[in-house]
Amino acid sequence: MRLLRMYVAAVDRMNYGLGRLVMFGIFILMGILMWSSISKVFFNPSLWTLEMAQFVMVAYFVLGGPYAMQMGSHVRMDLIYGALNPRRKALLDSVTVLVLIVYLGILLWGGIDSTRYSFQYGGERSSSAWRPYLWPIKVTICIGIFLMLLQALSELAKDILFLRTGTPLRHQNEEQGDAL
């Protein structure tokens, strides 16, 4: 129990901190696209802006994913789920979260494979004229998926702790619509 609690505290704090940081990434994205417009209108268009914006966007939603899970932003279809009491919700969640864990696990499997490839043959580079190396973004995605997996396990731990002790641990503002 104590171990579980420590795990939850550690993972949640880490993902919370990361998410709070990543949340400012929207301005980086805006900056790149703004620079893209300015350079296109006034000078020569830049080689790197579109691709860089794509990298930033992926990093933004992959690394922000765990924090979004803490906030309860990942919507659920809650016709049945929504009508359950907290205990039943926790019970159901602690079973179905395995679905999420399997999905993330297989994502990570494919991700690690693809990332390993990106280090081979002198480093995989993008097919654009800018030709950036692809391993930085692939490593970032893998880290994001891994943290997502840790967060899913933390959600499971919270449900188990709640079922055992009766004290709710889950983020109090986890409300479906809070996100919307």
Binding site: L33, S36, V75, L79, T96, L100, L107, W109, L180
Partner: protein
């Protein structure tokens, strides 16, 4: 096992998983990767999920999503749309159901600034809804108005849904956007007509402003508020003029729109730390939700592709059942409506549209027109339980006196109006095709 059976099995498993209430992206993604691993194992099974992330990365119009979401929250959280709401309030308050009618007008303007329905939802629920309830408007009426009105965001240009449709159907974005304009305005007019008639018959549903209240508003005040309408026009212009002139791309324009809205809020001194924090936190949350669902849906779609489901569906409809094109079209719309109750619009687009769009083209229908039919279906999907973004928002933001039951009931008449609009556009394609026809000289 025959591929059709696998496809059906996948679909039903996904529905089942969705009903357990697990996070939507997890449910869809799980079915996709498990099916892929079972079907193809280490020959293409396990890396399909990850490939979908790379596809999302390379699908450049998705860059507009965080921009429009950010913009929506800036407009609603900073309350710079308040004046806009008051403008409609004083101008339409005098007629039966006037404030509800004004809310629809507000939603049309918001729709012209934003490519998603998020902005309208947030503004409608935080600004319009409390005001309407305070004035004793019927709660079912106002709940429905906000949900239906905000869905116009994806039909009235700019529209992200239509851009994504354009990429899948390979149809011109410009024509699709123009094609959405008239049906969007027509639908708004139908909402207004419905509200007006209902409130004429039962005035308690939408009481007019009292004489006293109306007397308080001076003519000068009315004129001052009319200027509030300049803000959306300015944002629309800053975003769309460079785009239409080919100076900036769509993605760049969405960033310009987001920055313009942000600067407007700063200049109006509405960008407090609290507003700022809420805006960027919510933008992250919603963007993550969308992107993870799209990622999962793309993986699901790739398995469907791998199964050759396109050919299966095509041969089922045309050869085996030998149906008339119109019957097939209507069946497809019906199936979209049914799926729309369970799935989110991007998931429907990514999973089902690649199956249907080629078929629609083969049957000889216009794909620009079909894009509008598809978008109206998505609007309906936003509101129909058990899965709909507008429903979720309502539940989260609505005051306690509005119960879940009320939210579900409130949408019924509006869904009828929308289905009617869908039928009208189906029967009279010119409603959609007239404007692009004139502009592009088709």
């Amino acid at each position: 096992m025959p591929y059709e059976l696998i496809a059906v099995l996948m679909f039903s498993t996904m529905m089942l998983m969705l009903f357990t209430g697990q996070r939507v992206f997890g449910a869809i993604g799980f079915v996709a990767v498990i099916a892929a691993v079972l079907l193809w194992g280490d020959r293409g099974g396990y890396d399909l999920g990850f490939s979908a992330i790379i596809k999302v990365m390379r699908w450049y119009p998705l860059l507009t999503l965080p921009m429009f979401i950010f913009m929506g929250y800036v407009l609603s959280e900073s309350k710079i749309a308040d004046d806009l709401y008051r403008m409609f309030h004083v101008w339409t308050g005098g007629m039966p159901g006037g404030l509800a009618i004004g809310t629809i007008g507000l939603m049309v303007l918001i729709s012209a600034m934003n490519g998603l329905s998020v902005a309208g939802m947030a503004i409608g629920a935080t600004i319009a809804l409390p005001e309407l309830l305070k004035r004793n408007y019927d709660k079912l009426m106002v709940t429905g108005v906000v949900q239906a009105g905000s869905s116009l965001g994806i039909l009235v240009p700019p529209s992200v849904v239509l851009v994504l449709y354009a990429m899948i159907a390979r149809q011109p974005v410009g024509q699709l956007w123009l094609a959405g304009a008239v049906p969007g305005l027509m639908m708004a007019a139908m909402f207004i007509l419905y509200i007006y008639i209902r409130c004429r018959i039962t005035p308690e549903l939408g009481p007019t402003l009292t004489e006293g209240e109306r007397a308080e508003i001076t003519h000068a005040e009315k004129m001052r508020l009319l200027r509030a309408g300049l803000l959306p026009i300015a944002i629309f212009a800053v975003m769309m003029v460079p785009f239409l002139n080919g100076w900036t791309s769509l993605v760049e324009s969405s960033a310009i729109g987001a920055i313009a809205a942000f600067l407007a809020a700063v200049l109006k001194r509405r960008m407090t730390w609290r507003v700022f924090e809420t805006t960027i936190r919510q933008t992250l949350g919603i963007t993550c939700m969308f992107m993870w669902i799209i990622t999962a849906a793309l993986a699901f779609g790739a398995v469907f592709d791998g199964l050759g489901a396109v050919n299966a569906i095509e041969s089922l409809f045309t050869e085996r059942l030998g149906l008339n094109p119109w019957v097939i079209l209507i069946l497809m719309q019906l199936s979209f409506l049914v799926m729309g109750t369970f799935l989110d619009d991007t998931a429907m687009l990514v999973i089902v549209a690649p199956l249907y769009v080629p078929l629609v083209g083969d049957l000889g229908f216009d794909l620009v027109w079909y894009g509008i039919l598809y978008t109206i279906t998505c609007q309906i999907a936003y509101m129909t339980p058990p899965f709909g973004y507008n429903l979720f928002l309502m539940r989260a933001m609505a005051p306690p006196e509005i119960e879940l039951r009320d939210i579900y009931r409130s949408i019924v008449p509006f869904v009828f109006v929308m289905v009617l609009a869908l039928a009208l556009v189906m029967i009279f394609p010119q409603i959609a095709l007239w404007l692009p026809g004139i502009v592009y000289d088709l």
